[in-house]
C-alpha cells in the first residue's frame, strides 16, 4: 500500500497537542459535567489518532465505546453526585 505516515506528522502533532490540552482541562476543571464532555472529546481525538495509524477497527471501537457510551454513562453518574468537584 502506498502510504507514508511521515507526511502526516503535522496532523499527528495537532492531535497530540489537543489531546494533552483536553487531559489538562479535564483534570483542572471544577465542573464535573464539563470534565465528562471533555473526556468524550479526548476519546474522539484518540479515535482520530487510531484512524490515522490505519487501525480502523480500534478507531471504531474507540468512537462507539469511548466517545459514545462511556460519556453517557459518566454523565448519568455525575447527575447523581454533586456537580462541583472539591479539588
Amino acid at each position: 500500500m502506498d502510504w507514508d505516515a511521515s507526511l502526516l506528522w503535522q496532523f499527528d502533532l495537532l492531535l497530540l497537542l489537543m489531546a494533552v490540552i483536553c487531559a489538562i482541562a479535564a483534570l483542572s476543571l471544577k465542573d464535573l459535567i464539563s470534565c465528562a464532555v471533555i473526556g468524550g472529546v479526548y476519546s474522539f481525538l484518540l479515535c482520530l489518532a487510531w484512524t490515522e495509524m490505519l487501525a480502523v477497527d480500534v478507531a471504531f471501537t474507540e468512537a462507539a465505546v469511548g466517545a459514545g457510551i462511556s460519556t453517557v454513562l459518566i454523565l448519568g453518574t455525575v447527575l447523581h453526585l454533586n456537580r462541583r468537584s472539591k479539588d
Binding site: D57, A64, V65, I69
Partner: protein, 249 residues
C-alpha cells in the same frame, strides 16, 4: 501533598518516555510482536477462514478464547453494577437530591428519536453482520444497538424503554449471548474438535471447513453483540435511575 503528587507524576512520565524510546518503530516488521504468528495470520488468514478482515479473523477465530473471556469480563462487570445499584428488597429513600421534574412532552426530541432509533438499530445489525468485510463486529454493533435504547430513554422516559424491553429480558439477553458463544464452542467440542474449532461445523452446515469457520465467526459475533447490547442497557437503566428503575434522568 499536591506538590508531591506532581513530582511523582512528572518522574513517572519521564521514566515512561525514556522507556518509549526503546519501543520498536511503528509497523516495524521485525518487532518481536510481529515475528512469530502475525505473518501466518496475514498470509493464510483469508485462505483458512474466508474472512477478508484479518482483525475479525484473529479476534473471533484464532484468538476466540480471548474474546470469549472478554465477553465474560463485560458480563461480570455488568452484574457487579447491577448488584451494587439495584434496589428491590428494601425500598430505601433515594439518596440523591430530588431533581426538578422535567417536562417529558418535548415533541421535537421525541420525533427525532422516533426517526433515529430504527436507523441506529439497522446500522448496528449491519455492523455486526458486515464485520467479516469491514471494520466492526459484535462489540461495536452491540454498543450501537444499546445506544438506541439509551436514546429512547433520554428523549422519552425510562419507563417507555422498560415497557418494551423489560429488565428480565435484558438480563436474559446478558447471559444468552455468552451462552451462545460458549455453546458454539461446546458444539464444536461435541463434534470431536477443539473447543471453538469452528471447522467442526462443516458437516452440520453442509459447507467446506473454510466456510464453516466463517459462519462460526458470525455466530460468536452475534453472541458478543447480544451480551454487549444487554449489558449497556442494564448499566444505563441502573445508573440513570439510581437503581430504582423509575423515571430515569
Amino acid at each position: 501533598m499536591k506538590q508531591l503528587t506532581l513530582v511523582l507524576v512528572t518522574l513517572i512520565g519521564v521514566l515512561l518516555l525514556q522507556a518509549a524510546m526503546d519501543l520498536p518503530d511503528w509497523s516495524d516488521p521485525a518487532s518481536p510482536a510481529s515475528l512469530h504468528l502475525s505473518s501466518h495470520y496475514l498470509e493464510k488468514g483469508l485462505e483458512e477462514t474466508g474472512v477478508p478482515n484479518i482483525v475479525t479473523a484473529v479476534l473471533a477465530d484464532y484468538r476466540s478464547y480471548d474474546t470469549l473471556f472478554e465477553t465474560v469480563v463485560i458480563l461480570a462487570a455488568g452484574l457487579i453494577v447491577l448488584t451494587i445499584l439495584r434496589r428491590t428488597l428494601r425500598r430505601r429513600p433515594k439518596a440523591v437530591r430530588p431533581r426538578p421534574q422535567r417536562e417529558s412532552q418535548d415533541i421535537i426530541l421525541q420525533g427525532a428519536a422516533r426517526l433515529l432509533v430504527p436507523a441506529i438499530q439497522v446500522f448496528a445489525l449491519y455492523v455486526v453482520a458486515h464485520g467479516h468485510y469491514s471494520p466492526g463486529g459484535g462489540f461495536q454493533g452491540g454498543v450501537i444497538f444499546g445506544t438506541s435504547f439509551i436514546l429512547l430513554a433520554l428523549c422519552y422516559d425510562l419507563r417507555v424503554v422498560l415497557a418494551r424491553f423489560r429488565e428480565k429480558t435484558v438480563l436474559f439477553c446478558c447471559a444468552a449471548g455468552v451462552l451462545l458463544y460458549a455453546g458454539v464452542g461446546a458444539l464444536c467440542m461435541a463434534l470431536g474438535w477443539n473447543f471453538l474449532g469452528y471447522a467442526a461445523l462443516a458437516g452440520m452446515l453442509g459447507s467446506t471447513e473454510v466456510m464453516a469457520r466463517s459462519h462460526g465467526i458470525l455466530a460468536v459475533e452475534i453472541g458478543v453483540g447480544i451480551t454487549v447490547m444487554a449489558i449497556m442497557v442494564s448499566l444505563y437503566i441502573d445508573l440513570a435511575s439510581g437503581g430504582d428503575l423509575d423515571e430515569g434522568l
